[in-house]
């Protein structure tokens, strides 16, 4: 599973009309990528298009030089997993049951995971820092804990590429750091390709290997220092008097 070469070639997003065009980007296993851009620009749509939840209008998305359109849906889910920005919480759903849904395509006809998958679920809970949470009611977790459970759910899918839609929105500073560091650790130690959308520029610049920037005018990708160097962030908000501060890594 330690092979992933995600390539986006001239993607146009949208359902019946283009909402964002000309996205070309790439990501590899072991990398943590931040997807940055103003509200409503189409970050969720891009992530959903990559994970085949939604169609895109034109261009090509390929994993290991095979177009994602050629993968069967359940096949793709073993390569790409997706963590929605706000998963609905189901009352009384135990954390174990929630996380083991990630084994969906490997379970029997009743959706029951096999023994090794059950062990995997428990180990994964440990890995995201939710030891002893298996029996807890997932709907009563705190936002940070719930997000970690959602990440665990995506981890047991055993996909190389993990897409996360604003995993740190609604979290306090501590949890924001915990989650982002956890993602960084998963990328490095487990050699996964992790792509997440965020509004936290500072964290993205400090912790990510690569940034996909959906600016008002065009899409840019590159290493954080490259993007700072060539002033890519200045074009993020068009026609506004916000200035990117190169030492603070944020807009002032």
């Amino acid at each position: 599973m330690n092979q992933a070469n995600l390539i986006l070639k001239e993607i146009s997003l949208g359902y019946d009309k283009d909402i964002y065009t000309n996205i070309s980007a790439s990501a590899e296993a072991g990398e943590m990528v931040a997807l940055i851009g103003p509200n409503g620009i189409g970050k969720s749509t891009l992530l959903k298009s990559i994970s085949s939840i939604q169609h895109f209008r034109s261009g090509e998305i390929s994993v290991n030089s095979r177009s994602i359109r050629e993968y069967a849906h359940n096949e793709l889910s073993s390569i790409i997993s997706f963590v929605p920005s706000q998963s609905p919480r189901a009352a009384n759903l135990s954390v174990f049951d929630m996380v083991s849904s990630g084994c969906f395509n490997r379970t029997n006809w009743l959706g029951e995971a096999n023994e090794s998958d059950k062990r995997l679920v428990l180990e994964t809970l440990d890995r995201v820092g939710l030891e002893g949470f298996a029996d807890r009611d997932s709907s009563r977790l705190s936002d940070g804990e719930f997000q970690r459970a959602a990440i665990a759910r995506s981890l047991v899918q055993q996909s190389v590429i993990m897409l996360l839609d604003e995993p740190t929105a609604f979290l306090d500073i501590e949890n924001k750091l915990v989650i982002t560091r956890l993602l960084g650790k998963l990328a490095k130690e487990e050699h996964r390709c992790i792509i997440f959308s965020t509004h936290d520029l500072q964290l993205a610049i400090k912790l990510c290997d690569r940034i996909w920037l959906m600016g008002r005018e065009k899409f840019t990708e590159g290493r954080p220092d490259e993007l700072i160097e060539n002033g890519a962030f200045d074009t993020m908000f068009k026609d506004s008097n916000l200035k990117f501060d190169r030492t603070l890594y944020t807009f002032v």
């Binding site: 959903k48 994970s51 085949s52 939840i53 069967a72 849906h73 359940n74 096949e75 793709l76 889910s77 790409i80 997993s81 997706f82 929605p84 998963s87 609905p88 189901a90 009352a91 009384n92 759903l93 135990s94 174990f96 049951d97 929630m98 849904s101 990630g102 969906f104 395509n105 379970t107 029997n108 006809w109 009743l110 959706g111 029951e112 059950k118 428990l122 298996a134 029996d135 009611d137 899918q157």
Partner: protein, 353 residues
Amino acid sequence: MHYLRRIIKSITELNFRKSYYKIYIAIAATLFILIILNLILGSVIIPPYELLASLTGSDAPQYVTDILWNFRIPKVITALMAGVALSVCGLQMQTLFRNPLADPFILGISSGAGLGVALFVMGSSAFGVKLAGTIFFNLGIAAAAWGGAAAITLLILLVSHRLRENSSLLIFGIMIGSVTSAIITLIQYFSSSSELKAFVTWTMGSFSGLTSGQIWIMSMLVIPGLVMSIYNIKELNILLQGEAYAKSLGLNLERTRRRILIATTLLAGSVTAFCGPIGFIGIAVPHIARLFFRNADHKVLVPATALTGAAIMVFTDMVAQLPGQSGVIPINTVSALIGVPVILFIIMKSKFT
């Protein structure tokens, strides 16, 4: 046999989860007691020892055997099936739409069935056929109701691939239901009083009067519906966690929807065809089962709802028979009058403890 035991084991006893044997057994015992009471009580009260005698085939008075085998046993079987079918169906609707107010009829199945019945009742007299009171009349009503329910499901299935989200499907279903109800009202407006009465009687719901042939037909429709529902468990558990997530797992939303809809028609459509539109059970029982079991897993909830639904339906029917009185009141009034306060009590109690 071994395979069956494994299935039962995997449904009831799951590793990493609490064991639910005790609650299942408690509900099953309650159900058993309610069935016995249902057989004993009625306009004529059958003494328990005579009930036992008749059931075991030994000497019992003729009137006991007549009442039991011609009326009460068919009725209790019908109530059991209706309770299981409507509850399991309501559970699936609530999960599919992730809406606690969803019930088996939310997509207009009962309105469709109602339209079928209205057309049949009106039509048969318009063509000068005197059917009322005959066996064909009952069968015709059931067939017309089933046809109406199936027609609505078919219509929804035809458009469902154009509706990207389940919430649009829900709105579409509710709209279809409203249009159908409007047409029924129109038909009623032009009906004679006897036709109107035949129709209104059907809407009140009843478990009595089904011949063993009809019960066979009903079970032949309900049992495949239940089998399909069990087969839906895996997808239902994923749907709980949202459509976007379900799609990202590679779950085919459209196919899943279709399977749930077909199961629903087999379950709720058939019960409605033979017993009339029975309200309240389908919406309330899944909530009661969730309170008892405190688990969202459909492997636990489907059998739990089925058992609870059967018990509540048998109880409702018992009350509707007004033990010791000669009259019978409509099922639908009992289910609302007795059921709703019970549910409210359970919900409020669970909030405070």
